[in-house]
């Protein structure tokens, strides 16, 4: 399925990018030492306010986070998040389409102020940019119909669970599933989805994005989240040492979580509300 391939591409590009980025980081560090120029004490938040525009790097190839709609305009979870932040800051919004490979360079070279691009946190990225509080759920879990009671891996006993062969959730579930559970491994996400929709399996283990794609088709049987396998939420990226911008973004995220704005975005694009603890 396209979704799966996109996800794989995404991860693959991430890996490529890490290597490229380590290089870049080293090069930048060297340049900084050699030039020994006085540090520029610019405040990104001040710059955004005075320019009256917030430039945000968003994906355009990764639905439901960012894609191009039938009206040729960008749409998705990340785009709505960018709109929300710009509105709260009371500035205009400029969306800059990026790929997962170039989103951090765009930030580092000052072409964008924020990266809202379904980006996960890892030590390599954390070394060169700063991350806000998480703003979007991204996880693998076990999903099943609303009326099937599954609270943890042990409850899978006696159940048939569909999973895409070789995926993270396949590898993890193979470790934690009880002996009484039957894992049916399908060739791709299409097989897993079809098996769920046709009732050939009681539950499926997959990513929340795949579950969202199923829900978006409005099937008679909707997958509901049962328990989490692996969690890797998305964070907003910004340049290092921008405490004012960081505080402002985190405050907007916290407010959006408190007043239900973020839950509404999650409902719209992922078909379910924010999970506990995001």
């Amino acid at each position: 399925m396209t979704m799966r391939r996109r996800q794989c591409d995404h991860k693959f590009r991430d890996i490529q990018m890490i290597t490229k980025r380590s290089f870049l980081a080293a090069a930048l560090a060297t340049a900084a030492v050699l030039s020994s120029a006085p540090a520029v004490l610019a405040d990104a938040l001040e710059d955004i306010k005075s320019a009256g525009i917030l430039r945000v790097a968003v994906p355009q190839d990764f639905p439901p986070f960012g894609s191009v709609g039938t009206d040729m305009k960008p749409q998705g979870y990340d785009i709505d998040m960018a709109r929300l932040i710009a509105a709260k800051m009371n500035v205009d919004l400029a969306l800059v389409p990026v790929t997962s490979a170039n989103r951090i360079p765009f930030l580092q070279t000052g072409k964008v102020d924020l990266v809202i691009s379904s980006m996960g946190k890892n030590p390599e990225r954390d070394a060169v940019i700063d991350f806000s509080e998480p703003y979007a759920p991204f996880y693998n879990g076990v999903f099943g119909p609303e009326d099937v009671a599954i609270a943890d891996a042990a409850d899978l006993d006696g159940k048939i669970v569909g999973v895409t062969r070789g995926s993270i959730e396949d590898l993890e579930l193979t470790k934690i599933a009880p002996d009484g559970a039957t894992l049916k491994r399908y060739e791709d996400n299409n097989g897993t989805i079809s098996a769920f929709l046709s009732g050939q399996v009681d539950a499926i283990a997959t990513g929340n994005v795949v579950a969202a794609a199923i829900i978006a088709q409005n099937p008679p049987k909707k997958p509901a989240m049962k328990f989490l396998i692996k969690n890797s939420p998305c964070y907003i990226g910004m340049n290092e040492n921008e405490p004012a911008l960081m505080a402002a973004v985190n405050e907007i995220i916290a407010d959006a979580k408190a007043d239900g704005d973020l839950d509404a975005i999650s409902q719209e694009w992922l078909g379910m509300g924010l999970p506990e603890g995001l």
């Binding site: 062969r165 396949d170 049916k184 491994r185 060739e187 097989g191 046709s198 050939q200």
Partner: protein, 224 residues
Amino acid sequence: MNYQFDFAWLATYWPVFVDGIAMTIRLIVVGGVVGISLGTFCAWSRALGPAWLKPAVVTYVELIRNTPFMIQLFFIFFGLPAAGFRLTEVEAATLAMVINLGAYSAEIIRAGIEATPKGQFEAGASLAMSPIQTFRHVVLIPALQKIWPALASQVVIVMLGSAVVSQIAVEDLTYAANFVQSRTFRAFEAYFISTAIYLGLAMLLRFALLRLGHVLFPHKRAAR
């Protein structure tokens, strides 16, 4: 070629292959026996059966022979549950193989029946045999004898075609290869081994079927 073969994972994963081979054999044995029986029935209906049965048989044979096996399989496994007819993946795979082999073998056996000289039917009738007796002793056995090598080939083709049942999570030999590949990333070795096993299985199956031909039809060395 600089590739370093690594078969160390076999120590852990060989049972997966053994189970896979057992499943593939089980599928082709059940699918083969039931499928050829179905094919024989259809061949009889089409060549000698009652007029009302022929259109149904012709529709079935043409429908199956003119659509991909994988679509038939998906239709049974993913499609039929919507109509309230749910089969497990092994049942669905077996059924798909039976109807597929049934349609192809019907045409092969019909060719054998139609090659039977008319005089043979008349000879049976003149010996006061019932139509069913005539069909069995006078028509079917010589017909099967004539087309046995073609039928054996078709069974082998269906066995090799059964590789796609791994798509609906039937744990056959192809599933075993894909599974091992997804766990060890030794794609070359996993498919190398499964290729060799398929080759061995196909040759064994052909040999067994031809031997069976000699046993079933001892009077004539047609089965070759």
